[in-house]
Symmetry: C2
Subunit: 297 residues, 2 copies
Protein backbone atom coordinates (compact mmCIF):
# COMPACT_ATOMS: atom_id res chain seq x y z
CA UNK A 1 0.00 0.00 0.00
CA UNK A 2 1.07 3.60 -0.51
CA UNK A 3 2.79 5.27 2.42
CA UNK A 4 1.04 8.54 3.26
CA UNK A 5 3.12 11.57 4.09
CA UNK A 6 1.59 14.35 6.19
CA UNK A 7 1.15 16.60 3.18
CA UNK A 8 -0.62 13.83 1.25
CA UNK A 9 -3.19 13.03 3.93
CA UNK A 10 -5.81 15.55 2.80
CA UNK A 11 -5.73 14.18 -0.73
CA UNK A 12 -5.94 10.64 0.63
CA UNK A 13 -9.06 11.54 2.59
CA UNK A 14 -10.64 13.10 -0.48
CA UNK A 15 -9.65 10.20 -2.73
CA UNK A 16 -11.62 7.95 -0.37
CA UNK A 17 -14.89 9.69 -1.26
CA UNK A 18 -16.56 7.53 -3.84
CA UNK A 19 -20.26 8.29 -3.75
CA UNK A 20 -20.82 11.06 -6.25
CA UNK A 21 -24.61 11.00 -6.08
CA UNK A 22 -24.40 14.35 -4.32
CA UNK A 23 -21.68 16.40 -6.06
CA UNK A 24 -22.21 19.52 -3.97
CA UNK A 25 -21.73 17.56 -0.73
CA UNK A 26 -18.52 16.12 -2.15
CA UNK A 27 -17.34 19.56 -3.21
CA UNK A 28 -18.02 21.06 0.21
CA UNK A 29 -16.37 18.18 2.07
CA UNK A 30 -13.30 18.12 -0.19
CA UNK A 31 -12.73 21.81 0.35
CA UNK A 32 -13.33 21.45 4.09
CA UNK A 33 -10.75 18.66 4.32
CA UNK A 34 -8.19 20.63 2.32
CA UNK A 35 -8.63 23.75 4.44
CA UNK A 36 -8.71 21.86 7.74
CA UNK A 37 -5.45 20.08 6.91
CA UNK A 38 -3.85 23.32 5.67
CA UNK A 39 -4.81 24.95 8.97
CA UNK A 40 -3.29 22.14 11.05
CA UNK A 41 -0.11 22.29 8.94
CA UNK A 42 0.12 26.09 9.07
CA UNK A 43 0.03 26.26 12.84
CA UNK A 44 1.75 22.89 13.34
CA UNK A 45 -1.04 22.06 15.75
CA UNK A 46 0.17 20.23 18.86
CA UNK A 47 -1.62 17.25 20.44
CA UNK A 48 -2.45 19.46 23.44
CA UNK A 49 -4.01 22.16 21.22
CA UNK A 50 -5.89 19.46 19.34
CA UNK A 51 -7.31 18.09 22.59
CA UNK A 52 -8.31 21.60 23.67
CA UNK A 53 -10.22 21.93 20.38
CA UNK A 54 -11.93 18.54 20.89
CA UNK A 55 -12.99 19.55 24.41
CA UNK A 56 -14.18 22.99 23.20
CA UNK A 57 -16.33 21.51 20.44
CA UNK A 58 -17.78 18.93 22.83
CA UNK A 59 -18.66 21.57 25.42
CA UNK A 60 -20.19 23.73 22.67
CA UNK A 61 -22.43 20.84 21.63
CA UNK A 62 -23.44 20.14 25.22
CA UNK A 63 -24.47 23.80 25.67
CA UNK A 64 -27.04 23.63 22.86
CA UNK A 65 -30.71 23.21 23.73
CA UNK A 66 -34.13 24.34 22.48
CA UNK A 67 -33.46 27.97 23.32
CA UNK A 68 -29.71 28.22 22.91
CA UNK A 69 -27.56 27.39 19.89
CA UNK A 70 -23.93 27.71 20.88
CA UNK A 71 -22.61 26.58 17.47
CA UNK A 72 -24.54 29.38 15.74
CA UNK A 73 -23.05 31.73 18.31
CA UNK A 74 -19.60 30.38 17.45
CA UNK A 75 -20.27 30.89 13.75
CA UNK A 76 -21.61 34.40 14.45
CA UNK A 77 -18.67 35.51 16.57
CA UNK A 78 -16.13 34.21 14.05
CA UNK A 79 -17.79 36.21 11.27
CA UNK A 80 -18.80 33.07 9.41
CA UNK A 81 -22.58 33.62 9.61
CA UNK A 82 -22.20 37.12 8.18
CA UNK A 83 -19.98 35.76 5.40
CA UNK A 84 -22.66 33.20 4.46
CA UNK A 85 -25.26 35.99 4.44
CA UNK A 86 -23.10 38.18 2.20
CA UNK A 87 -22.49 35.33 -0.23
CA UNK A 88 -26.20 34.49 -0.35
CA UNK A 89 -27.18 38.08 -1.03
CA UNK A 90 -24.59 38.39 -3.81
CA UNK A 91 -26.01 35.18 -5.32
CA UNK A 92 -29.55 36.61 -5.32
CA UNK A 93 -28.41 39.90 -6.81
CA UNK A 94 -26.39 38.11 -9.49
CA UNK A 95 -29.43 36.07 -10.54
CA UNK A 96 -31.45 39.24 -11.03
CA UNK A 97 -31.02 41.12 -14.31
CA UNK A 98 -31.12 44.72 -13.22
CA UNK A 99 -32.49 47.37 -15.52
CA UNK A 100 -31.15 50.91 -16.00
CA UNK A 101 -32.13 53.22 -13.17
CA UNK A 102 -32.59 50.45 -10.64
CA UNK A 103 -31.32 50.97 -7.15
CA UNK A 104 -29.28 48.57 -4.99
CA UNK A 105 -31.36 46.20 -2.89
CA UNK A 106 -31.43 46.59 0.87
CA UNK A 107 -28.49 44.83 2.48
CA UNK A 108 -29.00 41.65 4.46
CA UNK A 109 -27.49 40.73 7.81
CA UNK A 110 -27.58 37.80 10.22
CA UNK A 111 -30.80 36.13 11.34
CA UNK A 112 -29.51 35.71 14.89
CA UNK A 113 -30.76 33.15 17.40
CA UNK A 114 -33.91 34.94 18.56
CA UNK A 115 -36.35 34.53 15.67
CA UNK A 116 -39.49 32.79 16.98
CA UNK A 117 -41.97 31.50 14.43
CA UNK A 118 -45.66 32.25 14.91
CA UNK A 119 -45.59 35.82 16.20
CA UNK A 120 -49.03 37.54 16.16
CA UNK A 121 -50.22 39.12 12.89
CA UNK A 122 -51.14 42.71 13.71
CA UNK A 123 -52.68 45.68 11.93
CA UNK A 124 -50.37 48.39 10.67
CA UNK A 125 -49.82 51.01 13.35
CA UNK A 126 -50.11 48.60 16.28
CA UNK A 127 -47.89 49.06 19.31
CA UNK A 128 -45.84 45.98 20.31
CA UNK A 129 -43.67 47.95 22.74
CA UNK A 130 -46.27 48.92 25.33
CA UNK A 131 -45.63 47.29 28.69
CA UNK A 132 -41.97 46.57 27.95
CA UNK A 133 -38.86 48.36 29.19
CA UNK A 134 -37.58 50.91 26.67
CA UNK A 135 -38.31 54.28 25.06
CA UNK A 136 -41.19 54.27 22.55
CA UNK A 137 -40.26 54.40 18.88
CA UNK A 138 -42.40 54.74 15.75
CA UNK A 139 -41.11 52.76 12.73
CA UNK A 140 -42.31 53.63 9.26
CA UNK A 141 -41.36 53.51 5.59
CA UNK A 142 -42.09 51.71 2.35
CA UNK A 143 -41.23 48.44 0.69
CA UNK A 144 -40.53 48.58 -3.05
CA UNK A 145 -38.61 46.51 -5.53
CA UNK A 146 -35.27 47.69 -6.90
CA UNK A 147 -37.11 49.58 -9.69
CA UNK A 148 -39.09 51.54 -7.08
CA UNK A 149 -42.39 49.71 -7.61
CA UNK A 150 -44.36 49.42 -4.35
CA UNK A 151 -44.81 45.91 -2.94
CA UNK A 152 -48.26 45.59 -1.37
CA UNK A 153 -49.07 42.91 1.19
CA UNK A 154 -45.41 42.17 1.90
CA UNK A 155 -45.10 40.20 5.16
CA UNK A 156 -42.86 42.10 7.56
CA UNK A 157 -41.67 40.18 10.65
CA UNK A 158 -40.16 42.38 13.32
CA UNK A 159 -38.49 41.41 16.60
CA UNK A 160 -36.07 42.88 19.10
CA UNK A 161 -34.89 42.83 22.68
CA UNK A 162 -36.33 45.32 25.12
CA UNK A 163 -34.88 48.59 26.39
CA UNK A 164 -32.67 46.60 28.75
CA UNK A 165 -31.31 44.39 25.99
CA UNK A 166 -33.29 41.25 26.84
CA UNK A 167 -35.32 39.17 24.37
CA UNK A 168 -38.50 37.43 25.48
CA UNK A 169 -36.80 34.06 24.95
CA UNK A 170 -34.24 34.99 27.59
CA UNK A 171 -36.87 35.81 30.21
CA UNK A 172 -37.77 32.28 31.29
CA UNK A 173 -40.48 29.86 30.30
CA UNK A 174 -43.58 31.84 31.22
CA UNK A 175 -42.74 35.19 29.67
CA UNK A 176 -44.34 34.33 26.32
CA UNK A 177 -43.84 36.32 23.14
CA UNK A 178 -43.02 39.97 23.49
CA UNK A 179 -41.79 42.67 21.11
CA UNK A 180 -42.55 40.61 18.01
CA UNK A 181 -45.20 40.75 15.32
CA UNK A 182 -45.94 40.21 11.67
CA UNK A 183 -47.31 43.15 9.69
CA UNK A 184 -48.34 43.42 6.04
CA UNK A 185 -47.64 46.44 3.88
CA UNK A 186 -50.53 48.53 2.52
CA UNK A 187 -51.39 49.06 -1.16
CA UNK A 188 -48.59 51.59 -1.51
CA UNK A 189 -46.01 49.31 0.14
CA UNK A 190 -46.17 51.35 3.33
CA UNK A 191 -45.58 50.00 6.83
CA UNK A 192 -45.78 51.54 10.31
CA UNK A 193 -45.75 50.24 13.86
CA UNK A 194 -44.75 51.20 17.38
CA UNK A 195 -42.16 49.38 19.46
CA UNK A 196 -39.21 50.46 21.62
CA UNK A 197 -35.81 51.84 20.68
CA UNK A 198 -33.58 48.78 21.03
CA UNK A 199 -30.46 48.96 23.11
CA UNK A 200 -27.12 47.18 22.89
CA UNK A 201 -26.75 43.83 24.64
CA UNK A 202 -24.22 41.03 25.12
CA UNK A 203 -24.57 37.75 23.25
CA UNK A 204 -24.80 34.88 25.77
CA UNK A 205 -21.24 34.75 27.09
CA UNK A 206 -21.42 32.26 29.96
CA UNK A 207 -20.58 29.26 27.75
CA UNK A 208 -17.61 28.00 25.72
CA UNK A 209 -17.97 30.77 23.11
CA UNK A 210 -17.95 33.41 25.85
CA UNK A 211 -14.74 31.83 27.13
CA UNK A 212 -13.26 32.06 23.64
CA UNK A 213 -14.22 35.74 23.32
CA UNK A 214 -12.67 36.44 26.71
CA UNK A 215 -9.45 34.74 25.72
CA UNK A 216 -9.42 36.78 22.50
CA UNK A 217 -9.76 39.99 24.50
CA UNK A 218 -13.12 40.69 22.83
CA UNK A 219 -16.33 42.10 24.30
CA UNK A 220 -19.61 40.21 23.63
CA UNK A 221 -21.82 43.20 22.76
CA UNK A 222 -24.04 43.92 19.82
CA UNK A 223 -25.22 47.47 19.00
CA UNK A 224 -28.95 48.12 19.36
CA UNK A 225 -30.99 46.87 16.40
CA UNK A 226 -34.51 45.99 15.25
CA UNK A 227 -34.73 42.68 13.36
CA UNK A 228 -36.74 42.70 10.15
CA UNK A 229 -37.62 39.86 7.81
CA UNK A 230 -39.49 40.63 4.57
CA UNK A 231 -41.32 38.03 2.50
CA UNK A 232 -43.20 38.93 -0.67
CA UNK A 233 -44.17 36.58 -3.52
CA UNK A 234 -41.97 37.14 -6.57
CA UNK A 235 -39.13 38.61 -4.52
CA UNK A 236 -36.07 37.30 -2.68
CA UNK A 237 -36.63 37.03 1.03
CA UNK A 238 -34.72 39.68 2.99
CA UNK A 239 -33.40 39.14 6.52
CA UNK A 240 -31.88 42.26 7.99
CA UNK A 241 -31.67 44.69 10.93
CA UNK A 242 -32.09 48.41 11.41
CA UNK A 243 -29.20 49.57 13.60
CA UNK A 244 -29.65 52.49 16.01
CA UNK A 245 -27.27 55.23 14.89
CA UNK A 246 -26.34 56.45 18.37
CA UNK A 247 -25.80 53.00 19.86
CA UNK A 248 -22.47 51.94 21.33
CA UNK A 249 -20.64 49.07 19.61
CA UNK A 250 -21.59 49.99 16.04
CA UNK A 251 -17.86 49.79 15.32
CA UNK A 252 -17.36 46.46 17.04
CA UNK A 253 -20.52 44.35 16.73
CA UNK A 254 -19.64 40.98 18.29
CA UNK A 255 -21.14 39.18 15.27
CA UNK A 256 -19.88 41.55 12.52
CA UNK A 257 -23.41 42.22 11.27
CA UNK A 258 -23.36 46.02 10.86
CA UNK A 259 -23.73 47.48 7.35
CA UNK A 260 -23.47 51.25 6.86
CA UNK A 261 -26.68 51.28 4.83
CA UNK A 262 -28.62 49.78 7.73
CA UNK A 263 -27.76 52.44 10.31
CA UNK A 264 -30.85 54.55 11.01
CA UNK A 265 -31.35 57.79 12.93
CA UNK A 266 -33.83 57.45 15.73
CA UNK A 267 -35.07 61.07 15.83
CA UNK A 268 -35.96 62.21 19.36
CA UNK A 269 -39.28 64.03 19.93
CA UNK A 270 -40.79 65.56 23.08
CA UNK A 271 -44.15 64.34 24.36
CA UNK A 272 -46.95 65.37 22.01
CA UNK A 273 -48.47 64.44 18.69
CA UNK A 274 -46.74 61.63 16.75
CA UNK A 275 -46.68 61.29 12.92
CA UNK A 276 -49.65 58.91 12.98
CA UNK A 277 -51.76 61.31 15.06
CA UNK A 278 -51.23 59.45 18.34
CA UNK A 279 -50.70 61.79 21.28
CA UNK A 280 -47.73 60.65 23.37
CA UNK A 281 -47.51 61.57 27.03
CA UNK A 282 -43.76 61.03 27.08
CA UNK A 283 -40.83 61.56 24.70
CA UNK A 284 -40.56 59.20 21.78
CA UNK A 285 -38.42 58.41 18.71
CA UNK A 286 -39.16 58.01 15.03
CA UNK A 287 -37.21 55.75 12.69
CA UNK A 288 -37.76 55.88 8.94
CA UNK A 289 -36.49 53.24 6.53
CA UNK A 290 -37.41 52.19 3.01
CA UNK A 291 -36.69 48.63 1.88
CA UNK A 292 -35.88 47.51 -1.66
CA UNK A 293 -36.35 43.85 -2.53
CA UNK A 294 -34.86 41.91 -5.44
CA UNK A 295 -37.40 40.35 -7.84
CA UNK A 296 -36.78 36.63 -8.18
CA UNK A 297 -35.29 35.49 -11.47
Amino acid sequence: MAQLQAQDLAQAVNDRMTDWQDPSFQQVMSSLVRHAHAFVQDVQLTPEEWMTAIQFLTATGKMCDEKRQEFILLSDTLGISMLVVAIEQARGAAAHTSKPGEERPTEATVLGPFYWEGAPELELGADIGAGNAGEPAYYHGRVTDTAGKPIANCALDVWSGDGEGLYDMQKGGDAGMRLRARFHTDADGGYRFWSIKPTFYPVPDDGPVGGMLHRMGRHPNRPGHMHMMLNAPGHERLITHLFVSDSPYLDSDAVFGVRNSLIVDFAAHPAGKAPDGRVMDKPFHTAHYDFRLVPTA
Copy 2:
Protein backbone atom coordinates in the same frame (compact mmCIF):
# COMPACT_ATOMS: atom_id res chain seq x y z
CA MET B 1 -17.42 52.98 10.62
CA ALA B 2 -15.72 50.92 7.95
CA GLN B 3 -17.99 48.91 5.70
CA LEU B 4 -16.88 45.28 5.65
CA GLN B 5 -16.86 43.42 2.38
CA ALA B 6 -17.12 39.64 2.42
CA GLN B 7 -13.44 39.22 1.61
CA ASP B 8 -12.46 41.55 4.47
CA LEU B 9 -14.45 39.77 7.16
CA ALA B 10 -11.72 37.31 8.20
CA GLN B 11 -9.26 40.14 8.71
CA ALA B 12 -11.87 42.10 10.65
CA VAL B 13 -12.39 39.13 12.98
CA ASN B 14 -8.66 38.80 13.52
CA ASP B 15 -8.17 42.54 14.03
CA ARG B 16 -10.65 42.28 16.88
CA MET B 17 -8.32 40.03 18.87
CA THR B 18 -6.53 42.27 21.33
CA ASP B 19 -5.33 40.09 24.16
CA TRP B 20 -1.85 38.97 23.25
CA GLN B 21 -1.03 37.35 26.58
CA ASP B 22 -1.20 34.01 24.80
CA PRO B 23 0.48 34.40 21.39
CA SER B 24 0.09 30.77 20.39
CA PHE B 25 -3.69 30.89 21.00
CA GLN B 26 -3.87 34.02 18.86
CA GLN B 27 -1.81 32.40 16.13
CA VAL B 28 -3.98 29.29 16.08
CA MET B 29 -7.24 31.26 16.10
CA SER B 30 -6.10 33.70 13.39
CA SER B 31 -5.17 30.84 11.11
CA LEU B 32 -8.41 29.03 11.90
CA VAL B 33 -10.46 32.12 11.02
CA ARG B 34 -8.55 32.66 7.76
CA HIS B 35 -8.97 29.04 6.69
CA ALA B 36 -12.62 28.84 7.76
CA HIS B 37 -13.49 31.97 5.77
CA ALA B 38 -11.47 30.77 2.76
CA PHE B 39 -13.41 27.49 2.88
CA VAL B 40 -16.79 29.26 2.98
CA GLN B 41 -15.72 31.50 0.09
CA ASP B 42 -14.29 28.64 -1.97
CA VAL B 43 -17.48 26.61 -1.90
CA GLN B 44 -19.79 29.65 -1.74
CA LEU B 45 -21.50 27.95 1.18
CA THR B 46 -25.29 28.31 1.09
CA PRO B 47 -27.45 29.07 4.16
CA GLU B 48 -28.91 25.56 3.86
CA GLU B 49 -25.46 23.94 3.85
CA TRP B 50 -24.45 26.15 6.75
CA MET B 51 -27.50 25.01 8.75
CA THR B 52 -26.70 21.38 7.93
CA ALA B 53 -23.22 21.95 9.35
CA ILE B 54 -24.63 23.58 12.51
CA GLN B 55 -26.98 20.64 13.03
CA PHE B 56 -24.20 18.11 12.35
CA LEU B 57 -21.85 19.71 14.88
CA THR B 58 -24.63 19.91 17.47
CA ALA B 59 -25.55 16.24 17.02
CA THR B 60 -21.87 15.30 17.22
CA GLY B 61 -21.58 17.09 20.56
CA LYS B 62 -24.74 15.45 21.87
CA MET B 63 -23.34 12.00 20.97
CA CYS B 64 -20.30 12.43 23.23
CA ASP B 65 -20.28 10.79 26.65
CA GLU B 66 -17.84 9.10 29.04
CA LYS B 67 -17.25 6.19 26.68
CA ARG B 68 -17.72 7.78 23.29
CA GLN B 69 -16.00 10.79 21.77
CA GLU B 70 -17.68 11.58 18.45
CA PHE B 71 -15.52 14.67 17.78
CA ILE B 72 -12.35 12.56 18.05
CA LEU B 73 -14.01 10.12 15.66
CA LEU B 74 -14.72 13.02 13.29
CA SER B 75 -11.11 14.17 13.52
CA ASP B 76 -9.90 10.59 12.99
CA THR B 77 -12.06 9.92 9.94
CA LEU B 78 -11.06 13.22 8.30
CA GLY B 79 -7.37 12.33 8.70
CA ILE B 80 -6.79 15.23 11.08
CA SER B 81 -5.77 13.13 14.08
CA MET B 82 -3.17 11.31 11.99
CA LEU B 83 -1.89 14.65 10.68
CA VAL B 84 -1.43 15.95 14.23
CA VAL B 85 0.41 12.70 15.11
CA ALA B 86 2.72 13.04 12.10
CA ILE B 87 3.51 16.68 12.93
CA GLU B 88 4.21 15.83 16.56
CA GLN B 89 6.53 12.99 15.61
CA ALA B 90 8.41 15.21 13.16
CA ARG B 91 8.78 17.80 15.91
CA GLY B 92 10.29 15.21 18.28
CA ALA B 93 12.64 13.89 15.62
CA ALA B 94 13.74 17.41 14.68
CA ALA B 95 14.61 18.21 18.29
CA HIS B 96 16.87 15.17 18.45
CA THR B 97 20.38 15.49 17.04
CA SER B 98 20.92 12.16 15.39
CA LYS B 99 24.38 10.66 15.19
CA PRO B 100 25.90 8.75 12.27
CA GLY B 101 24.62 5.21 12.03
CA GLU B 102 21.39 5.88 13.92
CA GLU B 103 18.22 4.32 12.62
CA ARG B 104 14.86 5.98 12.09
CA PRO B 105 12.58 5.90 15.13
CA THR B 106 9.48 3.73 15.10
CA GLU B 107 6.60 5.53 13.45
CA ALA B 108 3.68 6.79 15.53
CA THR B 109 0.00 6.50 14.77
CA VAL B 110 -3.29 7.54 16.35
CA LEU B 111 -4.13 6.91 20.01
CA GLY B 112 -7.73 6.06 19.16
CA PRO B 113 -10.66 6.27 21.57
CA PHE B 114 -10.12 3.00 23.46
CA TYR B 115 -7.14 3.70 25.70
CA TRP B 116 -8.18 3.07 29.32
CA GLU B 117 -5.87 4.25 32.05
CA GLY B 118 -5.02 1.90 34.91
CA ALA B 119 -4.68 -1.45 33.12
CA PRO B 120 -3.03 -4.18 35.25
CA GLU B 121 0.77 -4.30 35.41
CA LEU B 122 1.77 -7.84 34.48
CA GLU B 123 4.97 -9.90 34.29
CA LEU B 124 6.56 -10.37 30.90
CA GLY B 125 5.16 -13.44 29.19
CA ALA B 126 1.69 -13.15 30.71
CA ASP B 127 -1.35 -14.06 28.62
CA ILE B 128 -4.01 -11.33 28.40
CA GLY B 129 -5.89 -13.08 25.60
CA ALA B 130 -7.09 -16.18 27.47
CA GLY B 131 -10.85 -16.31 27.79
CA ASN B 132 -11.44 -13.85 24.94
CA ALA B 133 -12.59 -14.52 21.39
CA GLY B 134 -9.68 -14.73 18.96
CA GLU B 135 -6.70 -16.81 17.88
CA PRO B 136 -3.76 -16.80 20.32
CA ALA B 137 -0.74 -14.73 19.37
CA TYR B 138 2.67 -14.35 20.97
CA TYR B 139 4.17 -10.84 20.74
CA HIS B 140 7.87 -10.33 21.27
CA GLY B 141 10.77 -8.03 20.42
CA ARG B 142 13.06 -5.40 21.87
CA VAL B 143 12.93 -1.71 22.67
CA THR B 144 16.07 0.29 21.92
CA ASP B 145 16.90 3.89 21.20
CA THR B 146 17.72 5.05 17.68
CA ALA B 147 21.40 4.18 18.28
CA GLY B 148 20.43 0.60 19.11
CA LYS B 149 21.01 0.85 22.87
CA PRO B 150 18.54 -1.33 24.81
CA ILE B 151 16.00 0.46 26.97
CA ALA B 152 15.38 -1.49 30.16
CA ASN B 153 12.24 -1.03 32.25
CA CYS B 154 10.36 0.73 29.43
CA ALA B 155 6.65 0.78 30.24
CA LEU B 156 4.74 -0.91 27.41
CA ASP B 157 0.96 -0.44 27.42
CA VAL B 158 -0.87 -2.78 25.07
CA TRP B 159 -4.56 -2.94 24.19
CA SER B 160 -6.77 -4.25 21.43
CA GLY B 161 -10.22 -5.45 20.51
CA ASP B 162 -10.95 -9.15 20.60
CA GLY B 163 -11.10 -11.65 17.75
CA GLU B 164 -14.56 -10.33 16.90
CA GLY B 165 -13.37 -6.72 16.73
CA LEU B 166 -14.91 -5.58 20.02
CA TYR B 167 -13.09 -3.64 22.74
CA ASP B 168 -13.95 -4.20 26.41
CA MET B 169 -15.33 -0.63 26.57
CA GLN B 170 -17.91 -1.57 23.96
CA LYS B 171 -19.18 -4.58 25.87
CA GLY B 172 -21.35 -2.80 28.41
CA GLY B 173 -20.78 -1.58 31.94
CA ASP B 174 -19.95 -4.85 33.69
CA ALA B 175 -17.43 -6.32 31.26
CA GLY B 176 -14.47 -4.67 32.99
CA MET B 177 -10.99 -4.46 31.52
CA ARG B 178 -10.00 -7.09 29.00
CA LEU B 179 -7.13 -7.47 26.57
CA ARG B 180 -5.08 -4.70 28.17
CA ALA B 181 -1.99 -4.61 30.31
CA ARG B 182 1.17 -2.74 31.13
CA PHE B 183 4.47 -4.62 30.81
CA HIS B 184 8.04 -3.48 31.47
CA THR B 185 11.00 -4.44 29.32
CA ASP B 186 13.78 -6.61 30.77
CA ALA B 187 17.43 -5.58 31.18
CA ASP B 188 18.06 -6.17 27.47
CA GLY B 189 15.00 -4.13 26.40
CA GLY B 190 13.11 -7.32 25.61
CA TYR B 191 9.36 -7.74 25.86
CA ARG B 192 7.01 -10.68 25.35
CA PHE B 193 3.36 -11.41 26.04
CA TRP B 194 0.42 -13.43 24.79
CA SER B 195 -2.82 -11.96 23.51
CA ILE B 196 -5.02 -12.61 20.48
CA LYS B 197 -4.52 -11.77 16.82
CA PRO B 198 -6.65 -8.65 16.40
CA THR B 199 -9.20 -8.50 13.65
CA PHE B 200 -10.60 -5.61 11.62
CA TYR B 201 -13.60 -3.77 13.02
CA PRO B 202 -15.82 -0.79 12.23
CA VAL B 203 -15.45 2.47 14.11
CA PRO B 204 -18.77 3.34 15.79
CA ASP B 205 -20.91 4.29 12.81
CA ASP B 206 -24.39 4.71 14.26
CA GLY B 207 -23.91 8.43 14.96
CA PRO B 208 -23.42 11.64 12.94
CA VAL B 209 -19.91 10.65 11.83
CA GLY B 210 -21.23 7.31 10.58
CA GLY B 211 -23.82 9.25 8.59
CA MET B 212 -21.06 11.38 7.10
CA LEU B 213 -19.02 8.31 6.12
CA HIS B 214 -22.07 6.77 4.52
CA ARG B 215 -22.76 9.93 2.51
CA MET B 216 -19.12 9.95 1.41
CA GLY B 217 -19.45 6.39 0.17
CA ARG B 218 -16.83 5.25 2.69
CA HIS B 219 -16.71 2.11 4.82
CA PRO B 220 -16.05 2.50 8.58
CA ASN B 221 -13.50 -0.28 9.00
CA ARG B 222 -10.05 -0.33 10.50
CA PRO B 223 -7.57 -3.14 9.74
CA GLY B 224 -6.67 -5.41 12.68
CA HIS B 225 -4.06 -3.86 14.99
CA MET B 226 -2.51 -4.10 18.44
CA HIS B 227 -2.18 -0.74 20.22
CA MET B 228 1.16 -0.06 21.88
CA MET B 229 2.25 2.90 23.98
CA LEU B 230 5.87 3.09 25.14
CA ASN B 231 7.08 5.33 27.96
CA ALA B 232 10.72 5.38 29.09
CA PRO B 233 12.49 8.16 31.01
CA GLY B 234 14.82 10.16 28.74
CA HIS B 235 12.88 9.23 25.60
CA GLU B 236 9.95 10.63 23.63
CA ARG B 237 6.73 8.78 24.34
CA LEU B 238 5.64 6.61 21.42
CA ILE B 239 1.99 5.86 20.64
CA THR B 240 1.60 3.39 17.82
CA HIS B 241 -0.01 0.18 16.51
CA LEU B 242 1.21 -3.07 15.05
CA PHE B 243 -0.97 -3.81 12.03
CA VAL B 244 -1.77 -7.39 11.02
CA SER B 245 -0.27 -7.95 7.56
CA ASP B 246 -3.05 -10.19 6.25
CA SER B 247 -5.92 -8.04 7.53
CA PRO B 248 -8.50 -6.55 5.20
CA TYR B 249 -8.64 -2.74 4.98
CA LEU B 250 -4.89 -2.12 5.26
CA ASP B 251 -5.31 -0.03 2.12
CA SER B 252 -8.31 1.90 3.39
CA ASP B 253 -8.09 2.32 7.16
CA ALA B 254 -11.08 4.50 8.10
CA VAL B 255 -8.78 6.71 10.21
CA PHE B 256 -5.74 6.78 7.88
CA GLY B 257 -3.45 5.38 10.58
CA VAL B 258 -1.55 2.72 8.63
CA ARG B 259 2.21 3.15 8.16
CA ASN B 260 4.13 0.63 6.04
CA SER B 261 6.74 0.22 8.75
CA LEU B 262 4.09 -0.86 11.27
CA ILE B 263 2.71 -3.79 9.27
CA VAL B 264 3.77 -7.05 10.91
CA ASP B 265 3.53 -10.67 9.80
CA PHE B 266 1.59 -12.84 12.19
CA ALA B 267 3.31 -16.15 11.47
CA ALA B 268 0.92 -19.12 11.79
CA HIS B 269 2.02 -22.20 13.77
CA PRO B 270 0.30 -25.53 14.41
CA ALA B 271 -0.46 -26.62 17.95
CA GLY B 272 2.74 -27.43 19.80
CA LYS B 273 5.65 -25.76 21.51
CA ALA B 274 5.75 -21.95 21.35
CA PRO B 275 8.93 -19.81 21.39
CA ASP B 276 8.67 -19.26 25.13
CA GLY B 277 8.36 -23.02 25.82
CA ARG B 278 4.62 -22.95 26.38
CA VAL B 279 2.87 -25.94 24.82
CA MET B 280 -0.19 -24.82 22.87
CA ASP B 281 -3.06 -27.24 22.32
CA LYS B 282 -4.31 -25.26 19.32
CA PRO B 283 -2.76 -23.30 16.44
CA PHE B 284 -1.24 -19.92 17.32
CA HIS B 285 0.57 -16.94 15.77
CA THR B 286 3.81 -15.15 16.52
CA ALA B 287 4.44 -11.48 15.88
CA HIS B 288 7.89 -9.98 16.21
CA TYR B 289 8.58 -6.24 16.34
CA ASP B 290 11.47 -4.11 17.57
CA PHE B 291 10.81 -0.53 18.69
CA ARG B 292 13.23 2.37 18.43
CA LEU B 293 12.59 5.42 20.64
CA VAL B 294 13.96 8.95 20.23
CA PRO B 295 16.07 10.23 23.13
CA THR B 296 14.66 13.52 24.44
CA ALA B 297 16.67 16.62 23.59
